[in-house]
């Protein structure tokens, strides 16, 4: 196996709040190989965005705290770097694309100026050179009329174009790893497809790895080589694409799949997962998903589950990983306790 470009090793990110210490990221381990796309999936509040920001060391401290674990980027632990060393990584080796295309560009500078600034910062290019490179990048990401768009202010661009500008900015120094935090959530469906296409093509061209954060399993199926499902600060299932969709090993993943409206499933029930993720300040003693789980047993409520290997490269954090459907009685209406 190729040595991974990014490896999270038991990462812990805690936030101190009035209601106590919240373990937003609670022992997350992940790895991404060069050129690979890993999808990080979960509901709002599952800790996926905090994980992404932690890799960039963008979690505000305080109230946040890197409480443990390692973030190995090409074998180097990012948590041990000084702020100055980290600045040299950000935008250069690791870049990030954000969700909200309305606000990630500074309204007082033109789109081109902002991308050119990134190029000048990381490559020490001259003003004219940076401008030429920016226009070239704009063409690469499919911005029509690139010369004219260089001097367009963000408010003069559509959401899709702004997202393309953001992508061109993130890719300006050909990063080894791109973290895309819900890059298509704020866009409408046709533009979503275009942006995903673009990301896939650019990945092949630039040979970078992508950590794609999303709550949309459709996007994952289209884009990713591997998936990690996050719930309440933990990875609950990790596998490559087919097993996740064919045979989800964790009831939560199964729930997410069943909750996707699907026109071609021949009237099979469309079931939302009841309830909402647990309050991180008051986690259940056993499995964190147990209160919402349709297949839960006594042991699920009392004892935290182990990480169980279902097949090589397919693990799930469940007492009945891969076999929960055989549980004798299906609990009809799960009581949602908070």
């Amino acid at each position: 196996m190729r040595s991974p470009i990014l490896e999270l090793d038991d990462l812990q990110v805690h936030f101190s709040t009035r209601s106590g210490e919240l373990h937003a990221v609670d022992g997350v381990s992940l790895s991404i190989a060069p050129g690979e796309t890993l999808g990080l999936v979960g509901e709002s509040g599952s800790g996926k965005s905090v994980t992404a920001r932690a890799i960039m060391r963008l979690v505000p401290t305080p109230p946040g705290r890197y409480a443990g674990g390692r973030i190995l980027f090409e074998g180097k632990d990012l948590l041990t770097l000084s702020e100055r060393e980290m600045q040299a990584m950000r935008g250069h080796q690791i870049s990030m694309v954000f969700q909200d295309p309305m606000t990630f560009l500074n309204p007082v500078y033109t789109a081109g100026e902002q991308v050119a600034e990134a190029i000048r910062t990381h490559q020490g290019a001259s003003r004219a050179d940076a401008k030429a490179q920016t226009i070239e990048l704009f063409r690469t990401v499919g911005i029509p009329n690139a010369e004219a768009r260089f001097s367009a202010y963000p408010h003069e661009l559509s959401g899709g174009l702004r997202q393309r500008v953001m992508i061109s900015m993130a890719l300006s120094s050909r990063p080894r790893l791109l973290i895309a935090d819900e890059p298509t959530t704020a866009l409408d469906v046709t533009i979503q497809a275009q942006i995903l296409d673009l990301l896939r093509n650019l990945q092949q061209e630039f040979g970078m790895s992508i950590l794609l954060i999303t709550h949309d399993l459709g996007v994952v199926a289209e884009m990713c080589d591997k998936v990690a499902v996050m719930y309440a600060g933990r990875i609950v299932e990790e596998a490559s694409i087919e097993p996740i969709f064919d045979n989800p090993g964790h009831p939560y993943t199964n729930g997410l799949l069943e909750a996707i409206p699907n026109a071609s499933n021949d009237g099979a029930p469309f079931r939302p997962i009841p309830g909402s993720p647990p309050d991180l300040a008051r986690l259940p003693p056993g499995c964190r998903f147990a209160p919402r789980c349709r297949y839960r047993q006594e042991i699920c409520i009392s004892t935290p589950p182990p990480m169980v290997q279902i097949a090589p490269g397919h693990d799930a954090l469940c007492h009945f990983a891969g076999e929960y459907k055989k549980n004798l009685v299906e609990v009809p209406t799960p009581a949602v306790s908070r």
Partner: protein, 298 residues
């Protein structure tokens, strides 16, 4: 290279001929009556200030005892003061201390207040708490009162008054800048700038500061009105501009003793203070409408 991307057909998103932001602002400014009226008044005062030597009909310092307290008339358009000096000339020259002083006060407060506010807002935490409490304490005292005490300690002069007022005006600007920074810091572009590996100093001064400019301009304009009033008040009390330098506040005070017999002295000086404060207020109000982002395009 371009074959890589999913091309958007250019006709779907035509490049509109949107006017540049500056043209847009100027257009909104011209349509705002308050702003235009204020700008006209301030423009007129600036004109007086700059061209005072050519506009003033007489030497503002030269007294002619024969014309003491002369009523407005042919020789002295606005009359003469107790020392027989031409009131009109003194008013015109007085615009220099009044406007110049007010601009200096606001400039000092900006130079200190903007960095303090922006750093407090950006850093947050204990630094912000300490700065904010200090500003609150300063705000608890009326600037006029504190300035009175400072000038009493260091001796009356225009310079001392301007410096003390400048420092005392810091909280007004710093609080506004801090508030705007708190909002801007949460905007994704600040985080994006950080994610691009830019150092904090660059994010603060290159990315957040320009976004604070609108509110800073509005507050500064309104502060100019207050500064002008406070300066006039201190000169009125004899702590600011010292005689024989012409100043509106001092003229107001000189006219006080002869208010019943020669009201033109105080009236003329009072009128100038009134319209300049009015001018700055109108301009500030108008600008806050013009620069309000809610009026802009989304």
């Amino acid at each position: 290279m371009s074959a890589i991307a999913t091309e958007l057909s250019p006709e779907l998103e035509p490049l509109s001929d949107t006017p540049s932001s500056w043209n847009m602002l100027f257009w909104r400014f011209r349509r705002n009556r308050k702003a235009v009226a204020g700008a006209c008044i301030i423009g007129f005062l600036l004109f007086l200030m700059i061209f005072a030597p050519w506009l003033a009909p007489k030497d503002p310092l030269h007294g002619d005892l024969a014309s003491t307290l002369k009523a407005p008339g042919e020789d002295f358009l606005l009359g003469a003061d107790r020392n027989g000096r031409d009131v009109l000339s003194r008013l015109i020259w007085g615009s220099r201390t009044a406007l110049g002083g007010a601009f200096a006060v606001v400039l000092i407060s900006e130079l200190i207040g903007v960095p303090i506010g922006i750093v407090a807002g950006y850093r947050g935490g204990w630094f912000d708490t300490i700065i904010s409490r200090i500003l609150d304490v300063m705000l608890a005292f009326p600037p006029l009162l504190l300035s009175l005490a400072i000038v009493a300690a260091f001796g009356p002069s225009l310079k001392n008054v301007v410096i003390s007022l400048g420092v005392l005006y810091v909280p007004f600007i710093a609080r506004v800048v801090r508030g705007v920074t708190l909002v801007q810091r949460e905007m994704t572009y600040s985080e994006a700038a950080k994610a691009m590996g830019y150092p904090n100093r660059r994010i603060i001064f290159r990315h957040i500061l320009p976004n604070c400019l609108g509110p800073v301009i509005v507050v500064s304009t309104l502060d100019l009105a207050y500064a002008m009033l406070d300066l006039a008040a201190l000169s009125f009390l004899g702590l600011g501009v010292q005689p024989p330098t012409p100043d509106w506040g001092a003229m107001l005070s000189e006219g006080q003793g002869v208010l019943l017999t020669s009201p033109h002295l105080s009236l003329a000086a009072g009128f100038m203070i009134l319209i300049s404060v009015l001018g700055f207020n109108l301009l500030g109000d108008g600008l806050s409408d013009v620069l309000d982002p809610r009026q802009g395009q989304g």
